[in-house]
């Protein structure tokens, strides 16, 4: 394992402290219990959005704390759900009286810890669960689909509504709409290495890729020989379109997300391939996002997310945002 690391026990604390210093104009980092919150207090009457999850997906979620997006984020250990006392402390810190909406990715550990945090918090609160990964079969009898990159879009779009005086109920409704209208699928070329483990999470040949990989290096649909980008992107889009079934005149947001170890040059190439394929099938690409937003440590690979947009979603997508990892319009 080659990583910038001093010792395992301090890995997260040191990284969070650096994050706090680097973005001290936007956020504060609280340690023990750890949470990232906005530098400025949430204004009275604004619903507070709190997300969180295991670390290792940076900039998600701490990088999305700031105007127009989250009010706080609770980072767990690498790939491990945060603990209920973090959610409780973050909620108590940011809630300005309008209530708290927890944004949770669909993993058993995250669901349980956020539920306990919500039970421990005495103020008004509600939760939404993201589950956009079309690589996994959905079923009411199982844990269901994984929450992956579309969580970024949910946080941006609901963040704008909260900034525009949306109520807790309205924010929850919009978040659920964005989640339902989004589909994601990822591919990995290499594994990630959890610092505490010290070795790669999975073995993969030089000429192989994991199709449908999760953001923790969990296996996906199948292991395949690597193929040209157009073929890979075509297969990913086929799975997403099959699931989302967008109309031809539908406006769409196309999000190409890096897993952490793939250069932007390649991500833009993926974006180009995806645009061409979608347009050749008669689908519109109205909005774009390309970059490393929901990563899996140093994994090489990318995911593609397609979000079906209506006017409400488009308006809140375009509105100003000012966070460590996403800034426009202000």
């Amino acid at each position: 394992m080659k990583k910038f690391i001093n010792n395992n026990d301090d890995f997260l604390k040191e990284s969070l402290t650096g994050f706090g210093k680097a973005h001290s104009d936007i956020i504060n980092v609280n340690l023990d219990p750890s949470f990232v919150s906005r530098k400025n207090k949430t204004k009275d009457g604004k619903v507070s959005l709190i997300s969180g999850g295991g670390s290792g997906h940076e900039p998600m979620h701490g990088g999305f704390v700031g105007h127009g997006m989250l009010d706080a984020a609770c980072p767990g250990f690498v790939f491990s759900a945060p603990t209920p006392d973090q959610m409780q402390a973050a909620a108590e810190h940011v809630d300005s009286g309008a209530g708290v909406l927890f944004i949770v990715k669909n993993y058993s550990g995250d669901i349980m810890n956020f539920q306990m945090g919500a039970e421990m918090y005495s103020g008004k609160n509600d939760s939404i669960v993201t589950n956009d990964d079309v690589a996994v079969e959905d079923s009411t009898f199982t844990t269901g689909r994984r929450g992956v990159a579309a969580t970024v879009l949910v946080e941006k779009i609901v963040g704008s509504l909260a900034e525009h005086a949306g109520s807790l109920e309205e924010c929850k409704k919009l978040g659920e709409k964005v989640n339902k209208n989004a589909g994601t699928m990822g591919v990995a070329f290499t594994s990630c290495t959890v610092p505490a483990a010290g070795k790669p999470t999975f073995d993969i040949g030089d000429d192989e890729m994991e199709f449908g990989v999760g953001i923790h290096g969990e296996p996906g649909r199948k292991r395949e020989k690597i193929q040209p980008s157009k073929t890979i992107v075509g297969n990913i889009l086929e799975a997403i379109l099959d699931n989302l079934k967008p109309e031809k005149n539908q406006k769409n947001l196309l999000f190409v997300n890096g897993m952490g170890g793939t250069p932007l040059t390649e991500l833009y190439l993926v974006y180009e391939d995806a645009c061409q394929i979608l347009q050749s099938k008669g689908f519109q690409v109205t909005k774009s996002l390309v970059g490393n937003y929901c990563t899996s440590l140093e994994m090489q690979g990318a995911s593609i997310t397609l979000l079906k947009c209506d006017d409400e979603i488009l308006k809140h997508w375009d509105s100003p945002v000012h966070t460590a990892a996403m800034r426009w319009g202000m």
Partner: protein, 208 residues
Amino acid sequence: MSVSFLISQAKSVQKVIDENSAEIEVLDQKIGDGDHIFNIQRGLKLVVELEDSIKNLPLAKALNMIAMKVLSGIGGSSGALFGTFFMTMAKSPDLDKDVDFNKACEMIISGIRAMKERGKADVGEKTMMDVLIPVSEKLNELKNESEFKSGLNEVIKIAEERMLSTRDMLATKGRASFLGERAKGHIDPGARSSQLIIDTICKSVINN
């Protein structure tokens, strides 16, 4: 059950889990994301380190401190589930009186029931509950018996059989559920760590 019993069990379990950590890590890397063993080891270390702060406390208070430490120090599914287990045990009535075998069984049974509710997982879903639920059912049969030591040998056997049975299961809950057929052929890491915990504690009770 006493505070000193809890501390000595935590130390024995820590030793056994450390000895088997490589195996559990590999199991989790096959069907999970590799964090389970580190979470369990971190939790046990935190509980063992509590010794000085809890050794003179009443049982209910000590259990509550363990629960809070586990809940805030572990994270992931294990933190929430084991935190729930200890929190429920701490809420048992009459903890200021002597806690005999019958009472201890009832505490463990109610703790496991709370874990089942928290995780919404039942037997057959390839999780730690595949071991814990049958163990809790067996303890319910045993709790009123005066000669419980031979019964605890059966608990050990049940835990091992149920742990092994997760090998051929499809996972429907937890991280492995995302794998479908590919989860088959691997023992669930949570089932393995739970079985080791039960094995260690039962053997220690039998030998004392």
